[in-house]
């Protein structure tokens, strides 16, 4: 992709501008401006981490379902098999696959979220 500027520099520039004007906004708009800056954070992380996360998810789905395919197709098939009861929490590798995939997604959506897995000190 082109540089000067890179896409993540563009989102960063907008984020910084939002932070600069935020103190001058009324409380409701200041809140929404913070949300907007957070959205740009998600977009930037998806740019950076998304391709590798999707490739890793496809790899894990392929092992679990024992055949190749694209992300949408494999994801959809897994949902169907879970709904049909072909797979459940006792299926070897299922929980590990799901956990790895959703942790990758969380790293994009909310990297600072302290999840249930951190409940034990």
């Amino acid at each position: 992709m082109i540089t000067h500027p890179r896409a993540e520099e563009l989102t960063e520039a907008v984020s910084r501008w939002i932070d600069a004007v935020r103190p001058s906004l009324d409380p409701r708009n200041a809140f929404l401006a913070r949300v907007a800056a957070n959205i740009l954070g998600v977009v930037a992380r998806q740019q950076q981490l998304g391709p590798a996360a999707e490739a890793a998810a496809v790899e894990r789905f392929t092992v679990l379902l024992d055949h190749r395919g694209d992300y949408a197709g494999l994801n959809s098939e897994l949902c169907d098999r879970l709904r049909a009861g072909d797979m459940d929490v006792t299926t070897p590798g299922l929980i590990a696959t799901l956990k790895a995939n959703v942790l990758d997604q969380l790293a994009i959506d909310q990297p600072n979220y302290r999840h249930e897995g951190l409940a034990q000190p």
Binding site: V35, V42, N75, R83, V89, L98, Q110, R114, E116, G117
Partner: protein, 332 residues
């Protein structure tokens, strides 16, 4: 009908404070899609000041399809639970046509903190924090023991009913999320045995509690999702990790432990609830919140709401998926 609240408040101030009373302050605190909250103050002729809260519905209300109760029902619930000793802001006035505010009620303003993150981390709450989980248990026992007031027509829902309702919403969304799918199927197969249904608060969580640094829970707010259901629903909802504000190690609201919540509940006369029953409801709570996040994204995608906040909430589904996968791995 558009209501000019600021224009209607001086008249209400007179009605509440008597001849010569004036509106001393008015400020909109929050506005959801359908409900507004205003802080205002009335100063009487003698110079006495009363700090009050106005809650009013700002969008049309259909009692048949809405999950929310009417504000008149909310007012009756507040009175009823207070009579059983539960802390809720005292009702001051139920608005009528004369007030020109539409569907609304006025309560006293209870001071304290409602922001979850502050409650779990601000040093001001350090002393009271260890007492909160037990207090929550005691308060829930009081709420659950309250007879449903005649003025409140409430919906009923048990575990499988709630699960089915949210599964329907999930299916209609068209989203395909393996963890949510697994959670629906697992909880359907492992639903806790039905229990006698009682009055529930319906949204009892850190964020709807007014916390005072000295006394702890000073008021339980926001009764609009009150319904009849399994007592473990309220106990599980406050343990959903999404309301622990960065403190997953303190499962009750980010401030306390399961054992204290359940002990307080039992000590105040609540029917004993096991931890595994609570955890099943907690998992259903995470699942419900995940589906609600999908719904909020959809309200934006469908053009119903324009706020920048709505699509972003859609990206909170993954937090519930991570929480659910750990709960499922732990056997709930």
């Amino acid at each position: 009908m558009t209501v000019d609240v600021l224009a209607a408040l001086p008249k209400l101030a007179q009605r509440l404070g008597g001849e010569g009373a004036v509106l001393a302050a008015a400020e909109r605190l929050s506005g959801g899609a359908s409900m507004e909250t205003w802080a205002f103050a009335v100063e009487t002729l003698k110079g006495e000041r009363r700090d009050l809260i106005l809650r009013r519905r700002s969008a049309p209300f259909d009692p048949d399809t809405s999950r929310s109760v009417s504000l008149a029902a909310e007012a009756a619930l507040i009175e009823a639970v207070r009579a059983r000793g539960a802390p809720a802001a005292p009702l001051v006035h139920l608005c009528d046509a004369q007030d020109g505010l539409g569907e609304a009620h006025v309560t006293a303003r209870v001071s304290g903190e409602t922001l979850g993150r502050k409650i779990v981390s601000d040093p001001r709450f350090e002393a009271v924090r260890p007492k909160l989980a037990r207090q929550c248990g005691e308060i829930l026992a009081q709420i659950h023991a309250t007879p449903v007031p005649d003025a409140a027509v409430l919906k009923s829902a048990d575990f499988l009913g709630e699960l089915a309702r949210y599964e329907e919403i999930y299916r209609a969304s068209g989203a395909e999320r393996p963890v949510l799918e697994l959670a629906f199927q697992h909880l359907k197969k492992h639903a806790p045995e039905p229990a006698p249904l009682t009055l529930l608060h319906g949204d009892f969580r850190n964020g709807n509690l007014m916390i005072d640094p000295q006394i702890g829970v000073a008021a339980v707010l926001d009764w609009e999702l009150s319904h009849i259901g399994d007592p473990a629903e309220d106990l599980g909802w406050i343990c959903v990790n999404s309301w622990r504000f960065g403190r997953p190690d303190r499962p009750v609201g980010g401030f306390g432990d399961y054992a204290d919540l359940l002990a307080g509940y039992e000590a105040a006369g609540g029917r004993p609830v096991t931890l595994s029953r609570l955890r099943a409801w907690q998992a259903l709570g995470s699942l419900k919140w995940g589906v609600m996040c999908l719904m909020m994204y959809q309200s934006w995608a469908g053009g119903l709401e324009a706020s920048v906040e709505r699509p972003m909430i859609g990206r909170r589904v993954s937090e519930t998926e991570v929480d659910l996968v750990f709960l499922l791995e732990a056997g709930l």
